[in-house]
């Protein structure tokens, strides 16, 4: 891969810091985060490598990486990082940033799943699993995925056939409609 280095300050690392409060210059590439990451073997960019790419200002590569979507949010990386970098939050930040900037998600299934899940919560306040699974399969154009699990779950009484709804739907609507992509940050640290 060709790296373009215009200057020695990474605007991208600064941008990530402004959004998440995480200082990625602290990472010295020890690889501990990737060693424990359950999904790094399935992706091209391990967490360590992704952070290095951020340091090197490779925004486009990072926003198009599959890693943040395949990240299982297990926080093993954050827990083990000797520099106390919340690597799981880096993954989340990259994913949210990609979405905010309209970058086509590198793993569409994961985004479709989140979309189906959140739509269900938005309309009822609670997740309607049965409906959500069907809606996910339709978005994904894989209508029969996991179809064999459905009947057994129904027979075992594990799937509700009707959505449950909460009373205060207005509150949920307000939360969905007015939430920002990122949380407000108290102050910005200087390097």
């Amino acid at each position: 891969m060709q790296l373009k280095l215009d200057n020695n300050v990474s605007q991208f690392a600064d941008e990530i810091e402004a959004l998440s409060g995480l200082n990625l210059y602290d990472c010295y590439q020890c690889g501990k985060c990737s060693a424990g990451c359950p999904v790094s073997q399935f992706t091209q960019e391990s967490p360590t490598r992704l952070i290095r790419l951020i340091q090197l200002n490779q925004k486009e590569t990072v926003l198009n990486s599959k890693t943040p979507y395949l990240c299982a949010s297990c926080s093993t990386c954050s827990e083990r990082c000797p520099m106390e970098i919340d690597v799981a939050k880096v993954m989340e930040t990259v994913r949210i940033l990609a979405s905010r900037e309209g970058v086509k998600p590198a793993v569409k299934e994961v985004v479709n799943f989140s979309g189906a899940f959140l739509d269900s919560v938005k309309s009822n306040g609670r997740l309607f699993e049965f409906g959500m699974t069907i809606s996910f399969n339709l978005r994904n154009r894989t209508p029969l995925k996991d179809a064999m699990l459905g009947p057994v779950m129904l027979q075992k009484g594990k799937l509700g056939l009707f959505p449950q709804s909460i009373k205060n739907k207005e509150k949920i609507k307000n939360i969905f409609n007015n939430s920002s992509y990122f949380e407000p940050k108290e102050e910005k640290k200087e390097h």
């Binding site: 359950p38 949010s73 479709n112 799943f113 919560v121 779950m153 009484g157 009373k167 407000p184």
Partner: protein
């Protein structure tokens, strides 16, 4: 004794045996659970990976309701809900700015300190091991159990502040107290890929395979869990794992509350032990 209770969406559907067994255990032990009124979904992984504020606000909204009800503590048996509620309370208490935003978004306020408990914490610290010991009627002797904590109960430790994030002991202690034997094994806190169960099944099958082979190699006859996502993932997908990797795992994946219930002498049907994909027959015989 009465405690606040946040069931979360899965205890109302796919994890019905978790809810059944918890309720049966609480009835037996005279523990009263007061459901958080008009609770909503905590948002789980989809919310906080889509919009940061959304993930906090959906969870926070439940703390607002609990506060209105005057609840001082809330039991969240689902590990994912537990993690999200803890996260919201941690985030708001560490940032006045964020707390203000949460009040705006939810149109309410958390007026007093509310402690969120997971199921292991609840029985260890609130109900108490000594009290449990005296209530045991049928010790589960002869069973080797792999205690599986997964990620959300113990991580990030800064936020949940519960047990050791690499080698937790609370479930092991509980299982031993019930008369069974908790095996030493290496996958206690390995991730099962729960959040990817539907969109990225291949990853989940591989992670599950690792967990089962580790448990099996240590002589475990079953895996005990405290999370509906782990349970569903490992129980429902075991057959797919066997098919894909030509393995022959037949390992029941049971909720810790089901084991607790059996030891308290509650009939297995009341604990939902017949609703698992992998047969739990051996256990039901107790």
């Amino acid at each position: 004794m009465a405690y606040g209770y946040y069931p979360g969406c899965s205890l109302h559907s796919t994890a019905k045996e978790y809810s059944m067994s918890l309720k049966a255990v609480c009835r037996k032990l005279n523990i009263e659970l007061n459901e958080v009124e008009d609770w909503n979904c905590c948002g789980a992984t989809p919310a906080h990976t889509t919009k940061e504020e959304l993930g906090v606000a959906l969870a926070y909204s439940n703390l607002v309701n609990a506060s209105k009800q005057g609840l001082d503590n809330v039991l969240a048996p689902c590990a994912a809900c537990y993690n999200r509620l803890k996260n919201a309370s941690y985030a708001a208490s560490h940032s006045p700015l964020l707390e203000k935003r949460m009040n705006e978004l939810t149109g309410g306020k958390v007026e007093h300190d509310i402690k969120v408990f997971n199921i292991l914490e609840f029985f260890r610290d609130i109900y108490g091991q000594d009290n449990l010991k005296t209530a045991i009627q049928k010790p589960l002797s002869g069973f080797n159990v792999a205690c599986y904590y997964g990620c959300l109960l113990v991580r990030p430790s800064k936020v949940v502040n519960f047990d050791d994030p690499e080698d937790p002991q609370s479930m092991d202690e509980l299982v031993n107290l019930l008369g069974a034997h908790a095996v030493e094994w290496s996958c206690k806190t390995e991730c099962c890929g729960g959040s990817h169960a539907i969109p990225e099944t291949d990853i989940v099958l591989e992670l599950g395979r690792r967990i089962f082979s580790s448990a099996q190699s240590q002589g475990a006859q079953m895996i005990a869990v405290a999370c509906p996502l782990c349970q569903a993932n490992l129980d429902m997908r075991q057959e797919q794992i066997n098919k894909k990797y030509k393995t022959d795992f037949k390992m029941p994946v049971v909720y810790i509350t089901q084991l607790l219930g059996l030891a308290l002498g509650i009939p297995s049907a009341e604990l939902g032990l017949n609703s698992h994909f992998v047969s739990t027959q051996e256990l039901a015989k107790i």
